[in-house]
């Protein structure tokens, strides 16, 4: 059980930058910086010093939007530290799934008994990565499509400047959904694979992180939340979403709304009709526009979503309730006929 102590908090804050399983690991930040620098120098014809200045610009890293990102990161660690241990965990889902399969198939399966352990490990790592990516797409799309969920996901889209820490600009309610999503996806995959393949299942790891995630992160995942519009070749963007494509997802322009929900693979967006290529020399404005007056205040980031969510529920349920209480109007012709029957004058 996580205990809310200063030591734990410091460890978790620091862990974000020291743990290779986290997106903000210093190594990934460093590789993202290098990739951005090379891209700006080679393709943007910037001088290295100028490129560095742009990447480390004070008006970006000290902007109101960035300061809000930092505040959310610090506050969420405290809040989630108290909430996460009380949520449904990976182990509960995995054991449930593992047990259920014993009942469904009367005992333990031993699939592909001659397959080498490395092949099972590679298969498990790949399946976990793909299913997790699909689950992220589905949940992300729901966060946009369902007004109640959008009230909370808007917090992430309220960032008007993008930096790698924007990835943690998340309302705690949305954070809880992410934890549950992770427990469900990873628990199911682990339960099914261990049931079928036993102790041959393991995770292919690099520096303690899922190998696929390591590659994704090392190749500049942090640039998705940056203002460096790195594009891939058009053919490659059909398979892997580029940073520029995710920046389009954050665009204030209505033309870009509800596009590119995916994280790594582009196939989900292509399959479900939400795909959008990046554009050359794209210059985007980020955020929610003038509809939100003060997008970086703690009130907007933490309390407004509840207010909007309650308002949404109120509209839905109160209207429905009122409709049920109000007697339906009697059609005129039936009214006339009633008058005749009861001889009302």
């Amino acid at each position: 059980m996580f205990e809310l102590t200063a030591q734990n908090l410091l460890a978790d804050w620091a862990g974000q930058f020291l743990d290779p399983r986290k997106r903000l690991f210093w190594g990934y930040l460093g590789s993202a910086f290098l990739i951005a620098l090379i891209w700006m120098v080679l393709l943007g014809r910037e001088r290295p010093v100028s490129a560095c200045r742009k990447l480390l610009a004070r008006d970006l890293w000290c902007s109101a939007s960035a300061r809000a990102d930092y505040a959310v990161f610090l506050i969420n660690t405290i809040l989630m530290g108290s909430i996460v241990p009380r949520l449904l965990g990976h182990a509960a889902v995995a054991v449930f799934c593992f047990s259920l399969l014993h009942d469904l198939f009367d005992g333990r399966a031993s699939l592909l008994p001659d397959a080498p352990a490395w092949a099972i490990a590679a298969g498990f790592t790949l399946v976990l990565f793909v299913v997790d990516d699909l689950a992220r797409y589905v949940v992300h799309r729901l966060m946009h499509a369902v007004p109640l969920l959008w009230a909370f996901h808007k917090v992430h889209h309220s960032a008007t400047r993008l930096n790698p820490l924007t990835v943690l600009r998340t309302h705690p309610v949305e954070g809880i959904l992410f934890v549950l999503r992770g427990a469900l996806v990873q628990g199911l995959c682990i339960g099914i694979f261990v049931y079928g393949f036993g102790d041959r299942v393991s995770l292919v790891m690099v520096l303690g992180a899922n190998a696929f995630k390591f590659v994704f992160n090392a190749l500049g995942a942090n640039l998705r939340h940056s203002e460096v519009p790195i594009r891939y070749w058009s053919w490659l963007e059909n398979f892997l979403l580029s940073p520029a494509q995710h920046q389009i997802h954050h665009s204030e322009n209505p033309r870009h709304h509800d596009r590119n929900f995916g994280v790594v693979l582009a196939c989900w967006d292509r399959l479900f009709g939400t795909y959008c290529h990046s554009e050359p020399n794209q210059e985007l404005r980020y955020g929610l526009g003038p509809a939100v007056a003060d997008p970086h205040s703690l009130y907007t980031l933490y309390l407004l979503p509840f207010r909007e969510g309650v308002g949404f529920l109120h509209r839905i349920f109160i209207r429905r309730w009122r409709r049920q209480l109000t007697p339906p109007l009697v059609p005129t012709d039936q009214y006339q006929s009633n008058r005749a029957i009861y001889e009302i004058d």
Binding site: G107, Q186, V201
Partner: protein, 464 residues
């Protein structure tokens, strides 16, 4: 402190210094009885308990000696070790072997006139059919074991040596220690410290009560100088060098042997827990506290401290039994997996079924032992008994569901092997949570947890 006591303490100090390690041993302790005029200089005494340890070991040995034609003879012998007090009973286990010579060959050489039945749990055992008391269960099993070849009944899957042994350890040793010596005997007026245990004895009431509790645990007196592997190895007669503390070339079955739950504590401790030394240390500290009272009645504060040591012992002892049940639930799960593979491939399942029966017997014995601690296990006990059932699920799906008026087993039900595997998973989860287990040997879901561990837990909320 008398001159004699000073000499005993000095001797104990010298022994500790000249021994194989500087760790403290359980005894010798000086005589503190006021007015004692005898020639005894060591008040430590748990020979009766050590005698019962070898009675239990021997009973287990006999339970596996039936050959199908010697039932009456085997039953008579088993009853002699369970309920008899006759002189001349040979120690059937532990016996000397070439590189591990034991000092005693007869029970009487440790203590005379001891039995197991008189000390067996007198409450009802819910985990066994027909609401029998502890001794009724053991005598029923003895009767059945006598007719089973090698102690194993293939029709029910019962392995009687394991069932009798594991249950008796709980029903006698655990019950007597935690529900008697570490419980009611700690009351101020029950076996007080300012009187000899009985007329003329050289130990006080509290000293001997405490020693008796220690004797039932089954640890060698020098257990603090042993690591888990060494203490475990003594019971397996592996290394006389670590067992023979006084270096006389023989292992004293009274003071130098590992028995029963001390052996299982050491087994669990090989996985990183510290049950053996925690329990031993609490016994030792408690005994020192009583000795330091120098034959005076214990004050309320001293008794409160003693009760604290007793609580530590009780909690850890219960965990040791639960750890063993957890381990064998995992063994049963693995056995079922093997049986399934053999049956599906049309192979010979005899050996695998025998191993399954053995492990199930150990599981059941330990689970029933938990009931014998004298406290109501409540929902945990009910769930545990329902998950395990009265017998192992047989290859045809049947299981012992009761015992009829003639004492014959009733086999019924139709449970899938797969479903019984789920029962073992649930049982491990139940035991781990109810008893806060940490050794968790043979954890059937360990692979799941290892993978989850490798994925890492995050409190952060990375967005998309």
């Amino acid at each position: 402190m008398t001159l004699k006591n000073c000499l005993v303490l000095a001797a104990a100090g010298l022994l500790a210094i000249s021994g194989p390690a500087l760790a403290e041993s359980y005894g010798p302790f000086p005589v503190t009885v006021k007015g004692y005029g005898g020639d005894k200089s060591d008040s430590t005494s748990y020979t009766g308990q050590a005698a019962r340890q070898v009675l239990h070991n021997s009973l287990k040995k006999l339970a596996g000696m039936g050959d199908g034609s010697n039932a009456a003879e085997i039953k008579s012998q088993m009853m002699a070790y369970y309920a008899g007090k006759e002189e001349g009973r040979a120690i059937l286990d532990p016996k000397s072997k070439d590189d591990f010579v034991v000092l005693q060959t007869e029970v009487d050489q440790i203590s005379k006139g001891k039995d197991l039945k008189g000390k067996t749990y007198k409450g009802v055992v819910n985990g066994w059919p027909r609401k029998m008391t502890g001794s009724e269960v053991i005598e029923f099993m003895i009767d059945k074991a006598a007719t089973a070849k090698g102690g194993f009944d293939p029709l029910t899957g019962y392995d009687y040596p394991q069932l009798i042994s594991k249950f008796a350890m709980g029903a006698v040793f655990y019950n007597q220690a935690v529900d008697n010596y570490l419980d009611e005997k700690l009351a101020a007026n029950n076996k007080p410290n300012n009187k000899p245990y009985s007329e003329g004895k050289h130990y006080t009431g509290k000293e001997h009560s405490w020693d008796e509790g220690f004797g039932y645990f089954g640890a060698p007196a020098h257990a603090l100088s042993l690591d888990a592997k060494q203490a475990y190895g003594i019971a397996k007669k592996k290394d006389i060098g670590v067992a023979d503390y006084n270096k006389d070339g023989k292992v004293d079955l009274y003071r130098e042997m590992t028995y029963a739950h001390a052996y299982y504590a050491a087994d669990a401790d090989k996985s990183g827990t510290n049950y053996l030394h925690t329990i031993f240390r609490a016994f030792l500290d408690g005994r020192k506290l009583i000795t330091a009272a120098e034959g005076e009645a214990l004050s309320d504060a001293q008794r409160a401290q003693l009760i604290g040591y007793a609580d530590t012992i009780k909690t850890n002892w219960e965990q040791v039994i639960a750890e063993a049940a957890f381990k064998y639930a995992g063994s049963v799960y693995k056995d079922l997996e093997k049986l399934q593979t053999i049956v599906e491939s049309g192979g010979d399942a005899n050996d695998a079924f025998r191993a399954y029966g053995k492990h199930w017997g150990e599981l059941k014995g330990f689970a029933m032992a938990l009931e014998a601690g004298g406290k109501d296990l409540g929902e945990v006990g009910v769930r545990m008994n329902r998950l395990i059932g009265y017998g192992p699920v047989l290859l045809g799906g049947g299981q012992v569901i009761g015992i009829d008026a003639s004492g014959d087993y009733v086999i019924g039900g139709n449970q899938d092997m797969g479903n019984y595997m789920v029962h073992m998973l649930k049982l491990q989860k139940l035991l781990a949570e109810a008893y806060s287990l940490s050794a968790r040997k043979n954890d059937a879901t360990a692979e799941l947890e290892n993978l989850i561990e490798s994925l890492g837990e995050s409190l952060a909320t990375e967005n998309d």
